[in-house]
């Protein structure tokens, strides 16, 4: 018993002490001839699974193109891309310990995360919005007084509505769905009067609903979050390679075409469009590439 305990403690300590791998991703790719991309299984149009371990989405396609540029830069004739599904809980540890080399999902670039990882230039700006039933008469956050507002457990949107509740002096009841589909069901079934979430998730759920005309997205933007491709910290050569490749797509307008493919055109699995044109904030990020964290957006 005691031996098992000691062994267990040793393993725990060893795990706890394991250092982040040395950050030279370009050299790692060159020597191994392979790169591992972290992807999300269900992040709206940004990254989603097609089944059979195939992934697609705006960020996944951007990364595929970036990696193909890097392959040319490294003069490799063959480079294998492996896809590793990640979650919001494990994506940063997996990046730090070298399991994934580039994460192409829906990670918000904020100051807290910049202590642990680095981000490529922002490729998508998410706006947190309010979805309501079209006939509800709710048009802004002030109309939510004494109504019930749904949001999804484990998202930052909960924090945003809490902040707005405090600053606007609007009192409302919060109900939590266990995932986005569940939260949308709360709105659809009338248990909630509004659903507060990232714009593209609201648009996607409305598009997939039985009767999309019954819902609309209203009111002020509650929060703006830059979403970016995540990279390992302190690896300037790799970040430059990624940013250069993204920069070329932003300059040529290629990025707008890829955006169109995932946010305007119908996408699997339901073959319905999300129907969310690029926001002004997203276009601004493409016009002047930057990797500013979320905190810089809220200061304005």
């Amino acid at each position: 018993m005691k031996k098992t305990l000691t062994l267990g403690l040793t393993i725990v300590t060893a795990l706890a002490l394991s250092q982040p791998v040395l950050a030279d991703t370009l050299a790692k790719i060159k020597s191994s001839g392979a790169v591992t991309m972290g992807v999300r299984e269900s992040s709206g149009g940004l990254s989603f699974v097609l089944g059979d371990s195939k992934f697609a989405g705006f960020h996944v396609e951007l990364c595929d193109r970036v990696l193909s540029d890097i392959r040319k830069q490294l003069d490799l004739t063959r480079m294998e891309t492996r896809y590793q599904p990640v979650t919001s809980q494990n994506r940063i540890p997996l990046m730090q310990n070298g399991t994934i080399d580039i994460e192409c999902g829906s990670t918000t670039n904020n100051a807290a995360r910049q202590k642990d990882v680095s981000f490529a230039n922002t490729t998508y700006v998410e706006e947190v919005r309010i979805a309501v039933k079209a006939n509800s008469g709710i048009n802004s956050i002030a109309d939510l007084k004494n109504r019930s507002v749904a949001t999804t457990t484990g998202t930052t949107s909960v924090q945003h509505i809490r902040k707005h509740e405090r600053s606007a002096g609007v009192d409302f009841k919060e109900v939590y769905g266990k995932d986005h589909a569940d939260s949308f069901l709360l709105l659809e079934s009338g248990r909630a009067d509004a659903f507060v979430m990232d714009g593209q998730i609201l648009a996607g759920n409305i598009a997939k609903s039985k009767n999309p005309a019954d819902f609309k997205i209203v009111g002020e933007v509650l929060s703006v979050e830059p979403i970016a491709i995540m990279l390992r910290k302190d690896d300037p050569a790799f970040k430059k390679a990624v940013d250069d490749s993204l920069g070329a797509m932003m300059k040529s307008g290629e990025i707008a075409k890829i955006y169109d493919k995932y946010f305007i055109q119908p996408i699997p699995p339901a073959n319905k469009p999300i129907g969310l044109p690029a926001s002004e904030a997203t276009k601004a990020a493409w016009a002047s590439p930057n990797d500013k964290p979320m905190e810089d957006y809220t200061k304005k």
Partner: protein, 246 residues
């Protein structure tokens, strides 16, 4: 690994560390929230346990009566509630039943989850109570009836006092299970420990500290139930019966 236990002293609006770890003036810290979440977990679990013991005992007893109709009712109840996964039952109560019976829409989700979890567990308790009664020799029932007790009196004064003593150990397990199963309440928007863990670890990015604290509270809750039931078991011992000769 750097620990950051101060995370519990941060307030939930802007993440500032509060001086005394507890919020004031309407602001709450993650510690306040953790304690309230623990309260929700215990409330859901204990109320469900009452529902489960009540319905479980009744159904378990019905299944041992001579009446074929009552046995059928008890069996149907038990099989209905133990053959559907718990989470599915909770969703049935929350989403499906209210859409069929509109007035139920007004019932708070707290009551729905207490009923859902309570009825699910009642099926398991019914099985244990039945097993306890069936484990008694047939002669006990016959003797009770022979000395002039009615059937309810036979249960009350002869069978149940022995049967319940026999099934205290499995009831202890079931009572501890209900604490752990109460985690499903997060799915219907009850702000209990599991929901706190999911939400707070996302907001603070200190998942390991949050999950350790929540794990600790679940352990303490379930283990307290274990100790209480152990005390009940000791107190109820009858010399000469199972476990009573110590």
């Amino acid at each position: 690994m750097n620990w950051d236990w101060q995370v519990f002293c941060r307030n939930t609006i802007d993440g500032e560390v509060m001086p005394r770890c507890f919020g004031n003036g309407g602001e709450i810290t993650y510690l306040d929230w953790l304690i309230s979440a623990w309260g929700w977990t215990l409330s859901v679990a204990l109320l469900s346990l009452i529902v489960a013991l009540l319905f479980g005992s009744i159904m378990g007893i019905l299944r041992t009566t001579p009446s074929r109709g009552l046995v059928l009712l008890g069996n149907a109840w038990t099989e209905l509630f133990r053959n559907i996964p718990l989470l599915v039952q909770i969703f049935l109560w929350y989403h499906v039943v209210p859409s069929l019976i509109p007035p139920l829409r007004e019932v708070p989700s707290f009551l729905l989850v207490v009923m859902g979890l309570g009825l699910f567990t009642s099926a398991r308790i019914s099985e244990q109570v039945r097993a306890g009664i069936m484990s008694l020799p047939r002669g006990q029932r016959m003797a009770g009836l022979a000395i002039g007790f009615t059937l309810p009196q036979t249960y009350r004064y002869v069978l149940l006092p022995m049967a319940f003593r026999i099934v205290i150990p499995p009831l202890t397990s079931e009572s501890m299970n209900i604490i752990k199963n109460s985690a499903v309440a997060f799915a219907v928007s009850i702000s209990e420990l599991t929901m706190f863990a999911l939400q707070a670890q996302e907001e603070t990015a200190r998942g390991i500290e949050i999950y350790l604290a929540v794990t600790g509270l679940y352990f303490i809750s379930a283990f307290s139930i274990n100790r209480i039931m152990h005390a009940v078991e000791n107190r109820m011992q009858v010399p000469g019966m199972i476990g009573g000769s110590k």
